[in-house]
Amino acid sequence: MTFIRSLCLALAVAGLAAPAALAQSGPLRIEITDGVIEPLPFAAPTFIAENPGAAEVAQSISQVVAADLVGTGLFREIPPSAFISPVTSFDAPVAYADWKAINAQALITGAVALGSDGRVNVKFRLHDVFSGAELGKGMQFGGGQGDWRRIAHKVADQIYSRITGEGAYFDSRVVYVSESGPKDQRLKRLAIMDYDGANVQYLTDSSTIVLAPRFSPAGDRVLYTSFETGFPRIKLMDIATVSSRALAELSGNMTFAPRFSPDGGTVVFSLEQGGNTDIYSMQLSSGQSRQLTNSPSIETAPSFSPDGSQIVFESDRSGNQQLYVMPAGGGEPTRISFGEGRYGTPVWSPRGDMIAFTKQNAGRFHIGVMRTDGSEERLLTASFLDEGPTWAPNGRVIMFTRESAGAGGAAQLFSVDISGRNLRAVPMDGSASDPAWSPLLP
């Protein structure tokens, strides 16, 4: 209950982001009633091309901005056919009455200039139609020609944040495993893309099995598990140069399930020796490792709290998979999952307030969230096989793997709001698994 309420509060604070002058005229905001949201109608006339060459990119940017907002499930775009007055100039006064008449609560205006050197400059304003004023100040973003999608995401991030009061997340990337081939000989390769499935770039070929990539806190490196040597081993890749190295030589058969610490200096992971899997940490600078759990049971899938003080992980020490929290340096773990079924792949929210997990119960798989003490568990999805949640940078949306059943079964990436709403497949070609969401890009 507290959980739902805080969610409502979080979404209802849009007015706080608005200038004080707007407060008495009814702030532009998104309301949640009993978890059901009426999407906020907005109008986003195609951004004005400030020179002839900019028309195409202006159109594209407008589409991406609208797609970002609509994709949240919190906004509804009013089709241009309903518009009463065209927007012909970025600086001309806005005819608020015309937008009010079509029930647009938010109006987004923008202009795009394309320099002779290919640089793209985008200006935008967000208008609270019913208040008849701007919500926040107009802004502009500039970048190279190849950056236009990122610029569009940054504009949409501003709009999303101003209206919801939530942190931004559109200007982010996802590293994942691209899959092809039959189920018994699946080919897997690392790939990276924008959060919305655009700009796919492959980071490895498919000559060896690769699993579960994880971003560094700065988003510049990726930890993953590779069968390159014939045995599962953790590798560390620099994304810019697409070069990888083994994490370090460790005794034991298999190293896997790596994640960075919030400061990026430590990796926590699982190491298997003689059939037994425990959790270790390793300082990247020195290569020194330390054993954090010491139990004959399976301890894996460790994930740091954002303040770096604690680690949540899964263990079957009770007889089946459950979630535990321990101090980051090791020590007595506290069990936090007590519901029916098995719990695995815990991931701490970037906000620190929740833990997402995979739950297996009665032959079904679920993605769920709970408070960090295990209270207020809520299942967000159900299917034949859902697993491996990853948090959007703002801690409001979760992406995960959904795999279909049978000989022709295939994996796909899905996302869902932490309210359980807005379950949708990430638009992309082909099969994919093991997503990891990057931090917000700079």
Binding site: D184, N253, F256, E314, N320, L385
Partner: protein, 173 residues
């Protein structure tokens, strides 16, 4: 049952080398570090009726044992198979083996890797207890990454919860 499907696969001498471990590698050949992938020729695998051939080990003795859901305990049937595997390995000291542990798809990826390792280790320990030298036996877990049977029900899952003893070329081969 399991032997049958394997025998059907190994139809010809050439097919032998390609199919000796149908569950083992992706088309891209993930097994760079596996002992036998490049070293064993069709001739080297030999005839399943020849008690000295790896093919005999694989098909006549049986190269795999199966496990119950979420378990790594060796059943009496599994122990019987492993007992024969140990006899063969003890009689053919030139060969090494990699024991592959696998899980069915009903589990999370990381857990299944750990579970596969448990299963491979259970087999390794059993063979060692039967006198096979530890330094001839490596283990690797594939988790749920390489199912043998691809349907999504128990008929397939029971075949996928397995540990496979893959004979590699030893020093003398």
């Amino acid at each position: 049952m399991i032997k049958y499907s394997t025998i059907l696969l190994v139809a010809g001498a050439l097919a032998l080398s390609a199919c000796n471990n149908p569950d083992r590698y992706g088309a891209g050949g993930t097994g760079a570090g596996a002992g036998g992938a490049g070293g064993i020729t069709a001739g080297g695998l030999g005839d399943p009726n020849d008690p000295n051939s790896p093919a005999y080990f694989q098909q006549t003795i049986g190269d795999r044992v199966l496990f119950a859901v979420d378990q790594s305990t060796l059943s009496p049937t599994a122990q019987q198979t492993l007992g024969q595997q140990a006899v063969w390995l003890n009689q053919h000291p030139a060969y090494t083996a990699i024991i592959e542990g696998h899980a069915d798809e009903q589990g999370t990826r990381e857990y299944n890797l750990a579970l596969g390792a448990r299963r491979a280790s259970a087999v390794q320990q059993y063979l060692i207890a039967q006198g096979v030298s530890a330094n001839r036996l490596q283990t690797v877990s594939y988790g749920k990454e390489r199912p043998l049977a691809v349907c999504s029900d128990e008929a397939c899952y029971s075949q996928n919860r397995r540990a496979v003893t893959v004979i590699g070329a030893g020093a003398g081969v």
